[in-house]
Symmetry: C2
Subunit: 334 residues, 2 copies
């Protein structure tokens, strides 16, 4: 049986309150008592449990993280960066994979509160009324990472999705493409999906290229959806010479679909991705992508959250990180 705080108090001849004060580095403890307590701690080999200390200090050093899908390369990479930065600052992660299930998200937010998580990171942008209301009264610093809930006022660490998609489309236009297919994301309640679509539309418009409804499809950011939507584009009357997919996973699905149809990338069709996940380097051809700084995004997310936890008052709004075109092998000049 290991020593308890009362054993320490008895041995030092002080009250348990005094022991607590010493443990928590509090002031107002007489120096001779402090020394007696420290000596008793050493003699008894007493180690206060983190959970007991957390009750005293209201410090748990826990951050709750909501991940939409752990098996996605994008989310596992950003989570790995979040974990790294948290660990460096003495924080541990409670990780919850919600598999895009919004009811699970609500349940986990409640658990984070019960566990006294000191901060919460959400990487899922869809919301319902229940979650919105719960977050409003949760009283725990909260930050969104890589996503931004529609019409809400929170702190979000993101790229400028509109500008990034605009730049990606303009890049394809610069390569000589006039017929550019678009494999978009979710348009319901999802700002990134909407902003990437608007970026595509306006880049076409600003370059005097007409919008062709048949060349535009919407999916769910996953490989299978990119594969299926590319198949639809191939069956349409107006075939594109280039396709812009708003996630690397969808771009890989599109490339696989083209390969399975005996078409070469970029020889027959150029394909451009979005995200900068490690997958872009693992497939052939390597995927040219409009990249988010994934590692930096995780780091900035945790650093900002820790400032909130320490009591800094930050205005709600977006923390915008730079996007960057990474030219690889999947797009060509025509």
């Amino acid at each position: 049986m290991s020593a308890k705080i009362k054993d320490v108090a008895a041995r030092a001849g002080v009250s348990t309150t005094t022991v607590s004060r010493v443990l928590n580095g509090g002031k107002y403890v007489r120096e001779d008592l402090r020394i007696r307590v420290l000596r008793a701690i050493e003699e008894l080999g007493y180690a206060p449990s983190r959970i007991a200390r957390s009750l005293v200090r209201n410090k748990t050093n826990l951050l709750g993280v909501i991940v939409p899908d752990l098996t996605s390369s994008f989310y596992s990479t950003i989570l790995s960066s979040i974990e790294e930065t948290a660990a460096k600052n003495g924080y541990n992660l409670l990780v919850c994979n919600i598999s895009e299930d919004i009811d699970k998200e609500y349940k986990y937010l409640q658990i984070f509160k019960e566990m006294r998580a000191e901060g919460v990171i959400i990487m899922h942008e869809k919301m319902n009324e229940e979650i919105r209301e719960f977050i409003g009264r949760m009283e725990i610093p909260l930050i969104f990472s890589s996503v931004k809930p529609l019409n809400q006022s929170f702190i979000s660490v993101i790229v400028d999705d509109y500008a990034a998609a605009y730049d990606a489309t303009a890049y394809l236009i610069g390569l000589g493409h006039q017929s550019i297919g678009f494999i978009g994301g979710d348009m319901r309640d999802v700002t990134s999906g909407q902003n990437r679509y608007l970026g595509y539309c306006n880049a076409l418009k600003d370059h005097g290229i007409g919008y062709i409804h048949e060349l535009v499809r919407f999916g769910d950011y996953k490989v299978k959806s990119g594969y299926d939507l590319m198949g639809e584009l191939l069956r349409s009357k107006r075939q594109p010479t280039a396709v812009f997919a708003v996630s690397d996973d969808m771009a890989i699905g599109a490339v696989n679909c083209l390969a399975d149809h005996g078409l070469r990338v970029p020889g027959d069709i150029s394909v451009m991705g979005f995200d900068g996940s490690q997958m872009t380097e693992l497939v052939r051809p390597r995927i040219t992508s409009m990249e988010q700084p994934i590692h930096r995004m995780g780091k900035v997310t945790v650093e900002t959250l820790l400032r909130l936890i320490e009591g800094d008052v930050l205005k709600n709004g977006d923390i915008i990180l730079d996007h960057k075109l990474e030219e690889r092998e999947s797009c060509r000049k025509i």
Copy 2:
């Protein structure tokens, strides 16, 4: 300010001990007192914090998980299955990504103990004396998943690495290959690396094929290492007609290396993987692989750990799950 246990006690006219007993479903509480406490709880809207309850009950519902590398498709998939099974049973995960850093593993095991994790899952097989000794006195149920530490007595949920590698090699021999390259894993302190190598060696021997030292290389399970080692094999005098890589990531690296040298898979060289990660389906050609049942492995790991937590006494040893050959497009008959 929310209600505290002493407010409940005051309102019900009982001691805080009685309130605790009621909350924890303890016996020995008079029925009329129990009703008064429950009524006071309802009237005050009292919700005991999970952390406070955990001190009373010694239940935290936390499982600590050590992951070697979150950005690997294999580990993120098994983690997602572990999370799913834990959540179904009311447990939350403390996830620690150690990036193969054994000092970080030691630190995290200490944190798991301080946080009163009820169980620990380790997916990293290398150990040092410090960790071995700490685990020995940790007094928390512990299980290894997908790995088995060398010469140690623990419970490990794994496949039979020897048999799986033997079967993979025999499959390539059955396709007519006599010159089979081997891209192996880590051989220092790692049973899976050693057993997969022995499976390869003995399959060759049992089929009367001589072992050729030049065709055998060892790496670290990652894509880059598969790429580099395939490059070495291509530069050797005896070129293989097939290569068996002991991870899907290394197999993908090998396929990429061959593509970058203008060689076709399986036209020029067949490549076989190991693991059954989702990556096998995302690349072209799709990778034929000796698969571990990754999802089931996560599920069995948690279910077994929960039995230990509930007090079941299980013998140390291996829980062996079935491996399975998944034929895709990267191997051909010659």
